[in-house]
């Protein structure tokens, strides 16, 4: 890797140094000593903006292969389809910034969607939505207590919750799929199919949630505390942050986002399979990783996650428009994840086994 990256950046370096030295020979000697800065400069530029460059490049390529790709209606369709994964990803990003993981969101999505659809006919839409939010937040609280207060490993706890919640869904629904009886005469459809000011409601919900959480994470004391807990838990505790409560709250946020996604999904389909959320946790993680948020915690941002999720959506849509089968996107995603993370690490690589073996 080291040799390859030197060779790669060497190729850039040659041009860059020439250009710089031709433009201002003295300056390049005094302010830009040797080729080191150009290497670091190129790499840090790529790693900081890498994901956006990928995004724009991908859009550019796809727009050549398919005329419909850059049409307004197509872009809106893609964003609307990506909004469910996006809404969940906003919540999971907060959990990851706090230094943990949440693999149970897929099962939780199945649970909440089945619940809200099933309750719709029994207690009416308003009560169904309220009960669904309450129960989903309760599951989030269970995650939060186990991981925040009992300090168990988040990967395994949410893995266990994944199977347990899926079991609950199957017990609750008796293995049957659920449907809303009167599909026409209910305002419940608004969340998944409605439009507000010409924009689809799922997109609005996704955008609002992303902006809200981004503002909370960047401009409030609460957001700073989550970053502190994820970055250095020990230091956070010593500076008086109540770490357990912070971790607990991130799981409530994640559960809240899942409930919103279930609202959109249930209302769009007006019914639900009992395994509808299966595999969502992995797509959500793929989106977050594509956005460049590190799984180590303490870093990341919501807008990066939004970009990552949109990239996933556009890859899928672009490949479909080009006539490739849907599973090609998984292979492309694999390659892009590795490239994206590699670029991200290229100039802050401190890993033991890359430097010492």
């Amino acid at each position: 890797m080291t040799r390859l990256s030197i060779a790669l950046t060497g190729a850039f370096q040659g041009d860059f140094i020439q250009v710089i030295s031709m433009a201002s020979a003295e300056q390049s000697k005094s302010r830009l000593p040797t080729g080191k800065l150009s290497k670091a400069g190129v790499m840090s530029f790529l790693s900081a903006q890498g994901i956006l460059i990928f995004f724009l490049l991908g859009m550019f390529v796809f727009s050549f292969f398919s005329e419909q790709f850059l049409s307004q209606s197509n872009i809106m369709t893609v964003i609307r389809q990506a909004s469910i994964i996006g809404i969940i990803a906003v919540g999971v990003t907060v959990v990851i910034i706090g230094g943990n993981l949440d693999l149970s969101v897929g099962s939780m999505l199945s649970f909440s969607t089945v619940l809200v659809v099933d309750l719709h006919d029994k207690v009416g839409p308003t009560n169904a939505i309220l009960m669904m939010f309450a129960l989903t937040l309760m599951i989030g609280a269970v995650n939060g207590i186990l991981i925040g207060f009992l300090r168990l490993n988040s990967l395994i706890v949410t893995l266990a919750m994944l199977s347990a919640i899926q079991g609950f869904v199957l017990i609750y629904s008796g293995g049957q799929n659920v449907d809303i009886a009167d599909q026409e005469g209910t305002w419940f459809a608004f969340f998944g199919r409605g439009y507000l000011g010409g924009i689809a409601v799922p997109i609005l919900l996704f955008g609002l949630l992303a902006i809200l959480v981004q503002v909370v994470m960047s401009y409030t004391g609460y957001g700073r505390r989550i970053f502190a807990v994820g970055g250095n838990p020990m230091a956070a505790v010593y500076s008086g942050i109540r770490k357990n409560w912070c971790v607990f709250s991130t799981y409530l946020i994640s559960a809240f986002c899942v409930a919103c996604a279930a609202l959109v999904l249930g209302s769009r389909v007006m019914g639900s399979q009992n395994n509808v959320g299966q595999g969502y946790e992995l797509l959500v993680l793929a989106g977050i990783i594509l956005g460049g948020t590190s799984l180590l915690g303490g870093a990341g941002s919501i807008w990066k996650t939004v970009v990552g999720v949109l990239i996933l959506g556009f890859i899928q849509n672009g490949l479909l428009l080009m006539g490739y089968p849907y599973y090609i996107q998984w292979i492309v995603t694999w390659v892009i994840i590795i490239l994206a993370v590699w670029l991200d690490l290229a100039n802050k690589r401190k890993s033991l086994f890359t430097t010492h073996s």
């Binding site: 395994i156 893995l159 347990a164 079991g167 292979i331 590795i338």
Partner: protein, 319 residues
């Protein structure tokens, strides 16, 4: 107990999971008259051999402090190759299947080694990508084995013992010896326990991790071939969610996610616990949904008990 301890020579204590396995065993033999028959016991071993084989490799990877989420997909690809290539030659098909596991394990390991990216991310990507490769290769079709030698192998027995169970037990023994008696095993514990110190001790960290990824890839492929021969077919979705079952089994067996601690004996216990639980509840005619809930609850309780028992001697910072 001391004699058993002596036999396993220090590295492996009696794992708490075995107490649980024995308790389950006694419980189910009282609850169902069919449970304690020779046929059913070997049946459990055959049923668990798929997850069990992968869990052997996963134990090494997790002791190293890594994780491999792509095993289910590798299993699916190997099964498809083993059945799909039989038209050309059966030997070639099986070699290609096992080779694909080794190759994909090596790719995972190489990326983790050369980029320093968290194994969770690398193998998550691989899991999606390899599943894509399976669909690409199979064209979303299921393959059926036309070679009877292949499909008979999965149900054949040596004397009264099923071949698949024997393969699983032999592999378990080999991996136990590798982990406890060889330099590679010692290094695995060292790398997971303290990476800096193991570098200072001259262990080539990246290469070492890569070898363990290759081992788990190979075992996933072997499990895929065995599953395909048992079913006489391969579907593109074969092995879905297996990574979750495997990780559950390994964690139940006491291996730490943080690395540096674990054992094959424990993993065998974890695999058997899951197998007995599924089999026993099946015999008691409990719907499969309940097994998921019970398994999740057990996994979390094991974590809590483990946390309480192994609380660090120096008091942790509270709140």
């Amino acid at each position: 107990m001391t004699s058993i301890k002596g036999f396993f020579r220090g590295r492996t204590k009696i794992q708490p999971i075995w107490v649980f396995v024995i308790a389950l065993f006694i419980f189910f033999s009282f609850m169902s008259e069919y449970f304690l028959s020779f046929g059913n016991i070997t049946n459990i071993l055959v049923q668990t051999s798929t997850i069990g084989l992968i869990a052997l490799g996963m134990t090494l990877v997790m002791i190293n402090g890594n994780i491999d989420l792509s095993v289910g997909a590798i299993l699916g690809l190997a099964a498809s190759l083993a059945v799909g290539l039989q038209e050309i030659s059966m030997t070639l098909a099986i070699l290609a299947a096992l080779g694909s596991g080794i190759l994909l394990g090596a790719i995972n390991g190489l990326i983790v080694w050369k980029t320093g990216v968290n194994a969770f991310i690398v193998t998550l990507g691989a899991m999606l990508g390899i599943r894509g490769l399976i669909f690409l290769y199979t064209g979303e079709q299921s393959f059926y084995a036309m070679n009877f030698a292949f499909s008979d192998f999965g149900t054949s027995t040596i004397g009264p013992f099923p071949v698949l169970a024997i393969i699983f037990l032999i592999c378990t023994l080999i991996m136990h010896l590798v982990l406890t008696r060889t330099g590679h095993g010692r290094n695995t514990f060292a790398v997971g326990g303290n990476p800096e110190a193991s570098i200072d001790a001259g262990i080539r960290l990246g290469r070492h991790m890569m070898i363990n990824f290759i081992i788990v890839g190979f075992f996933a492929a072997l499990a895929g071939v065995m599953l395909a021969s048992q079913m006489g077919a391969a579907t593109p979705n074969l092995g879905r969610d297996y990574e979750l079952w495997v990780i559950t089994a390994v964690v139940l067996g006491g291996t730490k996610l943080t690395g540096g601690y674990g054992s094959i004996v424990g993993t065998l216990g974890g695999v058997l616990a899951i197998g007995i639980l599924r089999n026993g509840m099946n015999l008691m005619q409990v719907p499969a949904f309940y097994v998921l809930v019970i398994l999740g609850a057990i996994l979390i309780s094991v974590l809590i008990i483990d946390k309480k028992l192994n609380a660090p001697s120096t008091k942790e910072v509270r709140i």
